[in-house]
């Protein structure tokens, strides 16, 4: 299918450092897929291998069903939006956008027409004669986008294209880029370390860690059910606890944390009695001083610290030997003080069982 990207067993090392280790991934045609991970996780190397700037040590890359592993970058049906834009400083805005069309030896009239149209589309109409250096960061980013999109590639690769923009502009561009992708119907492979960006824009997210893809799925699935300790940590599950399974019975697992706190988790079938596990609870799933349903876990603790974030406050609550982070929205806030005793409660279903394949937490 057009725009489909299939990665099979890709590996890449730089010297002794393995950047990508055995990545297999399928990107559907017309999909917005995000490679999400911290710096050094291999996401950019993976993107650069799809673009053809790096050749894999092992594995295959198929684009639209065609094996492109051996093809040089200039023969691949993909285009890239670079992190620092990489606009040609010796060419005008229009000259930058026209570059790829000139390489395809299009007629001069067609080039002018298509350049103008795409500049209109990214709202840069009338700025074609400027030099890239005369534009703002956001405008330069649009030029980079226009220059890649004008060639109507089967796949568009974006390497942290918004990293250099300030927060407000970044938020605007998220929506704009997403809309553009939906309008064009081109496959987007987007690299970012910003989980919010990934959640807002993607059809699916592939979370990468240490050169591997740890989990792939739609944003909601990833957010609701992170499978590994790393993914949970990266997607802001702030409460990560090592625990032991005390018992498993009738859909409920009784857990005891290393800090001596006991609570129950809804059994997803993965708990084994006596086993050590990692579990996570999102701060917004925990409530302060509310009875809730009788089946909820209810624990006694002490307010330890307050992190005011405007729309919410994160409380650090001491429970036994553990410390939990609890988010309290500004709307429901009452004047609390440090040192106050509180009860915290959360449903067993809010407890996420997490794999720890690399044993990083131990």
């Amino acid at each position: 299918m057009r725009g489909e990207v299939v990665l099979q067993g890709l590996r890449k090392a730089f010297g002794d450092v393995a950047a990508v280790r055995d990545v297999s991934l399928e990107v559907r045609g017309g999909e917005f897929l995000t490679l999400l991970g911290p710096s050094g996780c291999g996401k950019t190397t993976l993107l650069r291998m799809i673009a053809g700037f790096e050749s894999p040590d092992a594995g295959r890359i198929l684009i639209s069903g065609r094996d492109v592993t051996a093809l040089p970058a200039y023969e691949r049906p993909v285009n890239t939006v670079f992190q620092q834009y990489a606009l040609f400083p010796h060419r005008t805005v229009a000259g930058n956008v026209a570059f790829g069309l000139e390489m395809q030896r299009r007629a001069r009239g067609e080039i002018a027409e298509r350049v103008e149209k795409v500049l209109e589309m990214v709202r840069l109409g009338g700025l074609g004669d400027r030099r890239p250096s005369q534009l703002s960061g956001g405008q330069q980013q649009r030029v980079a986008l226009a220059r890649a999109v004008v060639l109507e590639p089967e796949v568009l690769l974006l390497d942290e294209p918004m990293a250099a923009l300030d927060l407000k502009l970044r938020q605007e561009m998220r929506v704009e880029v997403k809309n553009l992708q939906e309008r064009l119907g081109i496959t987007f492979v987007f690299v970012t370390h910003d989980q919010e960006e990934a959640l807002v824009m993607s059809d699916r997210i592939a979370v990468m860690n240490r050169g591997r893809v740890e989990q792939v799925g739609p944003p909601e699935a990833l957010y609701d059910r992170p499978r590994t300790r790393f993914v949970a940590d990266f997607l802001a599950v702030r409460n990560l606890l090592p625990a032991t399974v005390v018992s498993v019975a009738s859909g409920v697992a009784a857990l005891r944390t290393r800090g001596g706190v006991s609570f129950q988790a809804a059994d997803d079938g993965g708990y084994r009695e006596g086993a050590a596990v990692w579990v996570g609870v999102r701060p917004e799933r925990i409530r302060l001083d509310e009875g809730g349903v009788s089946t909820d876990n209810t624990l006694r603790g002490t307010l330890e610290d307050e992190i005011y974030l405007g729309d919410r406050t994160d409380w650090r609550v001491r429970v036994g030997e553990d410390t939990l982070t609890v988010a309290e929205s500004a709307a429901g806030a009452r004047g609390r003080r440090r040192g106050e005793p509180v009860t915290v409660s959360f449903p067993p279903a809010a407890v996420l069982r997490l794999d720890d394949p690399e044993g990083e937490g131990r």
Binding site: A51, P72, Y74, A86, F99, R147
Partner: protein, 279 residues
Amino acid sequence: MTSRRAAVLLALPCLLALLALFVAPQALMFESSLGRRSFYGGVIHQWSLDNYRRALEPLYLAILARSIGLALATTLLCLLLAYPVAYWLGRRTPPRARSALLVLVILPFWTSFLVRMYAWIFMLRTEGLVNTALGLTGLGPLNLLYNDAAVLLGQVYGELPFMILPLYASLEKLDRSLLEAAADLGAGPARALWRVTLPLSRPGIVAGSVLVFIPSLGAYLAPDLLGGARTVYMGSLIQSQFTFVRDAPFGAALSFMLSLVVLVLLVIFRRPIRESRSA
């Protein structure tokens, strides 16, 4: 002390040196170029433009044209030879090896240019290294010395480092992602070189060309030592006016004419030159 006064004070030694070693001699030269030679080779300070009128005679204009030709050929050949070297040094060599290789480029400067010219004579003369080798293959001996080709060879050899270094500087800092962008947009290696690398290394091309062209225009040693009796260039012509002919005023006028050519060229190419400095 204001920063402005500090700047003036700091620049003062350099300004004084320029004044004493450059402006004053030039002024004296200009004054004597307006004079006349005395019977014994002195200068009679009676001002006229006669020397300049004479310098524009076809005989001397032809020599000027030959010099411009030599300088152009030297610049062009240096550019063609230096570009691949600079490209390889700046873009294909691991950074650690670069400084060692750059030293190799500068190494010839450790030996006097005169000595190096004699080395070329040694190699090119009839019984020299090259002809001996050619003799073994049955091709030689050829007349390799005392002609225009030998002058051009010596000139290119001498000026080559001045072309390599600025080209290296501009190629080395060329952003790799721009070349990746070119490839990404469908440009193969040749077209990326032509459409991206070359235009972006223009500052280096301009700087190197200026550095090679100007000294080549007044080149003296290579034409004098490697050239024949019939291959006269401006450098030798001017030198002979001050020595054998003992017509210092005419020599001064010829010098000024040469400076004027350089000045006109610098004015014509002022825009790319300014760009090359800011880059």
